[in-house]
Amino acid sequence: MTLAELKPGQSARIAALDGDPAVVQRLYEFGLYEGEAVECLGFAPLGDPLEIRIGNTRLSLRKVEAAAVALEVPPSPTAG
């Protein structure tokens, strides 16, 4: 599954980044890197973009971009 399919409150580790090279490079620069844990915080009013936490950073990205991030399954529910 990809980051775009994560539900609010769920988190998972990043398995791989694959997609538009410009998007992938930006994601790397923001700290989305293989092995990192990423948490979905929620969605904007119209369902897109989504808000995530990676390390200590809150990021906003669109679903199309989040789809470039493949996750290790299964996602684990997190509190807080």
């Binding site: 538009d20 090279p21 410009a22 490079q25 890197y33 950073t57 809150r58 906003s60 807080g80």
Partner: protein, 713 residues
């Protein structure tokens, strides 16, 4: 020891306290550096320490030195000494946020490749401590090989240690950056073999790593598209060897950073929930976030009108005092007319709007500095992307409500060049503060409160602002579907922690904006007013060679006000501007305008506020009615003139047609100049001018012709 100043470039991610540090180090000794050939203005500041002068250059906040946006490309060129008239800096000051070292050291590792000594300022250790993070700066310094200084920029802590480190740094050994795999280095070097002038190693690696990035486009444009196959082949070879770009770069950098932060940073088991987390949950919440957004936007607009009223009154009173003083000192003649009718009426009429502009910029600076703007972009992205824009276009468009010039400059953060261009081209459609005087004048003129009520007047004003809010996205959508097709847009954006805005940063922002406005009033508006005054004043004698001013004075002495007014109208009509206006009247007629409205509009093309002064001159206010305010008297004079005319019933459609024209037309030389500067081409300002003028003419035509049907004959 040389006395040459030490040049320090300040580099860091956005929201790390970079501007705060810059302001704290250089105080008010700042100026904006202009670089020939590039559009980005960089702030420079200086300070003295230990007998040395240090010149600090504030680079735009960036997440990496892999240039994709304009800002990033300029930052890289400056750091490599590739800008004209600007040597490479002696030292790079890299600022990082302590609570986010893992990610922020990514940029630092890129900076370490430049071959220049690097000083690492670790900011916000207090914030990190609150999150339960303990950072061993000794380990950080030892393992990175950099000179590390802890600071708290917002409270001015650690600045002297930082200054000491900066002064000591020049000439010290350049840091050793994380090593790239040998195959990567050789592949990068091969790409630029034989290229003259030689390309620095840093850039050749960027050429290899940044697929579709600025370095690639620049290189292919400069040295020929024939190099493209070699670049593609090198990337393919690396991919086959398990070193695919861009992942290989990230792996090398994080491979270097991770062990260091693992040793230097102690993290708590669980991340504590901070107050900004809770606050943020509300700000980006589907319902509450949207509600807060709407309330904030409403508050900003409401306060522009309410808070600005008293200071506006003081400025008006001041202008009034000056002009009556001049009238009492000078006798009737061209000089007095130029000073009072041309300069004071024209420039003063514009300065009256300074309080509104300052208040608007105050709000924008506060919202920006506290971190809210990113939330607004998050909330608006979906709507904006449906119009072919991105959430990041929201901030430039909102700033354009104050003034399109800073709004257009704020588009530099948009990575996709077509998104950015579309945002630039529609930003002037937003109702800027210079349109406000026009709306106020027209509403005051043709929709008197006694007759239409306060509510109808407010509704008309609101509708004028809505025109911009509706037209901008619609035009953007059309442009993205036709002229500006291409490029997939991207929104990957940090939502920085909310913080209390820094007073210093906000004040500097507001001051800069206010000064730019005053300068504009003193140059382009002043010059326009002098020209318009002259073309309305001359020729100043009638067919028999008698001087109009003298004849009017004679009538006034005999207290024949009606005669004097008739004569004044005749004088204006036969002036150069009057003759041109009557000749052009067929163009304005379908919009319902007479030659005076047409001329006032035409004269406002350099700067739309000019219409206020021009109208004052055209419908010259009775002298001697000094107990009334100028604008009030102007309103009365024009209204009398209109109500006396046969077309008085059409007053409202005509006023609306003028307002709609001004809402949509690009009557602003500064905006066109800034579009030229930001797009590096004459094509786009010319395009903007013609599409907006055409749109304005058609809309005004429709408003008048339809409005006429309602009022009947």
């Amino acid at each position: 020891m040389s006395t040459k100043p030490i040049v320090v470039a300040l580099v860091g991610n956005p929201n790390t306290g970079k501007s705060t540090l810059f302001n704290a180090l250089s105080g008010l000794r700042q100026h904006v550096g202009n670089y020939p050939g590039v559009t980005v203005e960089l702030k420079k500041g200086t300070f003295q320490f230990a007998g040395r002068t240090v010149e600090l250059i504030d680079l735009p906040g960036t997440y990496s030195l892999a240039p994709r946006s304009l800002d990033e490309a300029v930052a890289v060129d400056l750091l490599l000494g590739r800008l004209e008239n600007e040597a490479a800096p002696d030292v790079v000051l890299s600022i990082v946020d302590a609570s986010n070292l893992d990610r922020q050291l990514y940029l630092t590792t890129q900076v370490m490749e430049l071959g220049i000594p690097v000083v690492l300022a670790v900011n916000m250790l207090d914030v990190a401590a609150k999150q339960g993070l303990a950072i061993d700066l000794g380990i950080l310094a030892e393992r990175t090989g950099l000179s590390v200084v802890p600071i708290q920029a917002n409270r001015g802590i650690g600045l002297d240690d930082l200054r000491k480190a900066l002064v000591a740094a020049p000439g010290s050994k350049a840091p050793s950056p994380p090593a790239m795999p040998a195959d990567v280095d050789s592949a990068a070097a091969e790409l630029v073999v034989g290229i003259v002038p030689a390309i620095p190693g840093f850039l050749s690696r960027r050429l290899l790593f940044d697929i579709g990035g600025s370095t690639e486009s620049w290189f292919l444009a400069t040295h020929g598209d024939r190099h493209r196959p070699a670049i593609d082949a090198a990337r393919e070879r690396l991919k086959a060897a398990g070193l695919a770009v861009p992942g290989v770069e990230a792996k090398a950098r994080y491979g270097f950073i991770r062990p260091i932060t693992a040793a230097a940073v102690r993290k708590p088991e669980r991340r504590p929930t901070t107050w900004t987390d809770r606050f943020d949950r509300a700000l980006t919440h589907k319902l509450w976030g949207t509600l807060i957004f709407l309330i904030l936007m409403f508050g900003v607009f409401a306060s522009i009108f309410w808070l600005a009223e008293p200071p506006k009154g003081w400025i008006e009173a001041g202008i009034e005092t000056i002009s009556s003083w001049i009238e009492s000192q000078l006798s009737v003649g061209p000089l007095r007319s130029l000073l009072v009718d041309g300069l004071i009426a024209g420039v003063g009429g514009v300065l009256v709007f300074l309080p509104q502009i300052l208040i608007l910029f105050l709000f924008i600076a506060i919202l920006e500095d506290c971190g809210y703007m990113a939330r607004a972009a998050f909330l608006m992205d979906k709507l904006m992307s449906r119009c072919g824009l991105s959430g990041k276009s929201f901030i430039p468009l909102l700033s354009s409500v104050a003034c399109a010039v800073p709004g257009i400059m704020a588009t530099r953060v948009i990575e996709n060049r077509w998104d950015r261009l579309a945002t630039i081209l529609v930003a002037p459609l937003m109702s800027c503060s210079a349109r406000l005087p026009v709306y106020t004048l027209m509403i005051g003129l043709f929709l008197p409160a006694e007759q239409y009520g306060v509510f109808a007047r407010a509704a008309v004003l609101f509708a004028m602002y809505m025109i911009g809010f509706v037209a901008a996205p619609v035009v953007a959508l059309l442009l993205r579907k036709t002229l500006l097709r291409g490029g997939r847009s991207m929104l990957i954006m940090e939502l920085p922690g909310m913080k209390v805005p820094s007073a210093k940063t906000v004040i500097i922002r507001v001051f800069d904006a206010g000064w730019a406005f005053v300068k504009r009033a003193g140059t382009i508006i002043l010059a326009s007013m002098v020209l318009i005054w002259a073309s309305l004043y001359f020729p100043s004698s009638d067919a028999d060679g008698a001087n109009y001013e003298a004849r009017i004075a004679e009538h006034l002495e005999k207290d024949e006000k009606g005669e004097a007014r008739k004569l004044k109208a005749e004088w204006k009509r036969q002036s150069y501007l009057g003759r041109l206006g009557q000749w052009m009247e067929p163009v304005f007629r379908p919009l319902g305008w007479d030659w005076r409205l047409g001329m006032a509009t035409l004269a406002s093309f350099p700067a739309r506020e000019v219409i206020v002064g021009t109208m004052t001159m055209l419908y010259e206010v009775e002298e001697g009615d000094d107990d009334e305010q100028t604008t009030g008297a102007l309103t009365d004079a024009i209204r009398d003139d209109w109500n006396a005319g046969p077309r008085s019933r059409e007053a409202v459609p005509i006023a609306l047609s003028v307002m709609v024209f001004f809402a949509l037309c690009c009557q602003c030389a500064s905006t066109l100049a800034v579009i030229r500067r930001e797009t590096k081409s004459w094509r786009w300002p010319i395009f903007t001018f013609f599409y907006m003028t055409g749109l304005a003419y058609l809309a005004a035509l429709a408003v008048y012709q339809i409005g006429r049907l309602f009022v009947g004959d």
